[in-house]
Amino acid sequence: MSFLAELWAFARSRKKIWLLPLIVILALFGGLLILVQGSALAPFIYTLF
């Protein structure tokens, strides 16, 4: 819950409320990816993420 509050405060202060629907969709989609994926190893490029 504290994370959601933090995310809301962040989006407000950065004027990025428009990103929130995208975050929800991506989170759902990303959640699916977690379910179908064994491990979350970073690929062989500069660690951008």
Partner: protein, 611 residues
């Protein structure tokens, strides 16, 4: 005010402890876990920092993390949106990592802190500093300057890849930024990957390879790949890169432009790779000089601080100094992400902590970068005895005399003294030393001690008072972050036959009175040694000078290829027994390889993943 700085979860995790504005300890996690560029949470480094100060984690007022995860997440989402649907492969790798842990970094940090310090309201102590602010703080606050411009250049943090900050006293403000995906660090990394080296560690090899090549691709890069404006601001043509949306650094169009696919790692290198290295190095210098000239003109600053991974490009740093726009430059020795831990702690200390900043003109606050663990002679003797070493304890005068004799007789020396260095360079605390006058020292150290490619030059450690006699430099370079040429009178010109040699064969031609540290373009990556920060090392080089007339020694990091710098006496002994190092000096303990039990010899080569 006690602040613990932490960098973690990307590369080069580290911890740093700042007490009342003074840097007490700093160390990279890799030194303890023995995994190069370890990206895990720095449990060991934190515990070391606390033990150095005799504190527990609960004694710490704030824990400062070196970047802002939500801001980074925002960059990721907006980048995927901008490149959609092309970024799916990258997205499908990134999202699970973020949704599992990185998005909940607050909780993750609290859990790890609880494991070290027990139950506590850790969230209330957490602070997050922007990535480039961490870098800028690591460069400005420990510098010997009351006021300075601070240029940070790296791959990427949250959004910023290049930033200008202005520092005055305890105040530091970022005034300009260039944002992802336009990044000098990523441009250089793209060429690192393309020339067959590992991203985020092979950049140093590209810089070392550059003098063998001709920058015949530089104009192509400037015409097609990067658009540089008069003030040094730039934009990359993303058609040539794949990193923003894919899982490779370069795109097919990049490969077409430069005439072929990337070189496979560890495969034969030809003139093309050398020319590519020379070209990207030339372009980097071109852009960096435009940036620094614009900064000098715009801000009127006479001092410049540098940080971020690109600031480890000591060839470019040498150009900035010689360009003369700034009276002095100071480069943070841990300019990569490890230094972010220190910067975050310093930014919090002088920011939220409002600790006043003490500046000592002419002397920085890094303690020579000797900020890591040290061992008492009693402890060293016990550890070495337990490891089966046969050694003699000498007093300081004998130790210096015998080691200087060994150096003068051409032996490779493992030199382990005092506190370990913070940052990627060995600076005379965990170093392998040799005689730079020996024409065979370079290949001996490369092939039999370091087990690495022989094209890379070694660095000289030179007494500060003698630097101008040997190199075209008369400034402090205590952290091996400036490159300058060997002075004319000590050079040896190459014959036409030698000039015609191919690439790295040229390295075997003695090009100066100190061939082991002279690159083929007569340049050298210089460490000036100062009596104030490392008196023992200074005494050793002085003794070597008394015997040989040469105030310079070869200094390379005490490790083999792919291994982090040795941290403990046992690791130093293991390195002695697994390589062709002939003498090991650990504190006052002196030992020779020939006196050791042959049963303890180990095959060391291949023990670590190649970097």
């Amino acid at each position: 005010m006690r602040i613990l700085g932490v960098s973690a979860f990307y590369h080069d995790s580290a911890a740093a402890l700042v007490v009342d504005g003074r840097i007490v300890a700093a160390a990279q996690e890799e030194r303890f876990t023995r995994r190069k560029h370890d990206a895990g949470f720095p449990d060991h480094a934190i515990q070391y920092c606390l033990s150095e100060a005799g504190l527990t984690l609960k004694d710490i007022d704030h824990i400062a993390f070196y970047d802002k995860p939500l801001l980074k997440f925002e960059r990721l989402l907006e980048t995927y949106l901008a490149f959609a649907p092309r970024g799916f492969a990258s997205f499908s790798k990134a999202m699970p990592i973020w949704l599992r842990e990185k998005l909940f970094l607050n909780n993750l940090l609290c859990t790890r802190l609880k494991a070290i310090g027990g139950a506590h309201d850790w969230a209330a102590k957490l602070l997050f500093t922007e990535h480039h602010m961490s870098h800028a703080a690591s460069a400005f606050f420990p510098s010997p300057f009351e006021e300075a411009a601070v240029l940070t250049m790296d791959g990427v943090g949250e959004w910023a890849t290049t930033s200008l900050a202005l520092g005055s006293g305890a105040d530091l403000r970022i005034t300009k930024e260039i944002h992802f995906p336009h990044s000098l660090g990523l441009l250089y990394s793209a060429f690192t990957a393309y020339t067959g080296f590992k991203v985020n560690s092979g950049e140093y090899k590209v810089m070392g390879l550059a003098p063998y090549g001709v920058p015949r691709f530089a104009q192509t890069i400037l015409d097609h790949v990067i658009d540089v404006k008069e003030d040094g601001s730039f934009r990359l043509n993303m058609d040539y890169f794949d990193y923003a949306s894919g899982l490779r650094m370069t795109s097919q169009r990049f490969h077409d432009l430069f005439g072929g696919p990337p070189r496979q790692p560890e495969k034969w290198m030809d003139q093309r790779e050398m020319d590519l290295a020379a070209s990207i190095q030339a372009v980097l210098q071109h852009v960096v000089l435009k940036l620094t000239r614009a900064i000098a003109a715009e801000t009127g600053a006479r001092k410049l601080c540098l940080a971020g991974g690109v600031a480890l490009n000591c060839v470019a740093n040498g150009h900035i100094l010689r360009d003369g726009r700034f009276d002095e430059i100071w480069v943070q020795p841990a300019s990569g992400d490890a230094g972010g831990a220190l910067g975050a702690a310093l930014a919090a200390s002088h920011g939220i902590g409002a600790v006043p900043r003490q500046v000592t003109p002419g002397q920085d606050a890094m303690n020579g970068a000797y900020l890591g663990p040290q061992f008492s002679d009693q402890d060293i003797a016990q550890r070495l005895t337990a490891a089966g070493a046969r050694f003699t304890r000498l007093d300081e005068a004998d130790l210096i005399a015998r080691t200087a004799d060994d150096l003068a007789e051409g032996r490779a020396i493992g030199w382990f003294q005092g506190r370990m260095e913070f940052g990627p360079r060995a600076l005379g605390a965990r170093s392998i030393l040799g005689d730079p006058r020996s024409p065979t020292m370079q290949s001996l150290l490369n092939l039999k001690v370091k087990y690495r490619e022989s094209f890379r030059p070694f660095a000289p450690s030179v007494l500060r008072e003698d630097v101008a006699d040997w190199f075209e430099l008369d400034a402090d370079s205590p952290y091996m972050l400036l490159v300058a040429d060997v002075v004319e009178r000590r050079r040896r010109p190459m014959t036409p036959e030698q000039q015609a040699l191919f690439g790295i064969e040229k390295l075997n031609v003695p090009r100066s009175d100190i061939p082991a540290v002279t690159h083929i373009d007569y340049s050298a990556r210089i460490q000036t040694v100062h009596r104030e920060t490392n008196p023992l090392y200074h005494a050793l080089i002085s003794a070597f000078r008394d015997r040989t007339g040469c105030p310079v020694v070869v200094n390379t990091s005490f490790n083999v290829r792919g291994e982090p710098l040795v941290c403990t006496p046992e690791e130093a002994f293991r390195c002695l027994m697994g390589t062709d190092i002939e003498v090991l000096v650990v504190g006052r303990q002196y030992m020779r390889k020939q006196d050791q039990d042959p049963a303890l010899m180990t095959r060391y080569e291949g023990a670590f993943e190649l970097d």
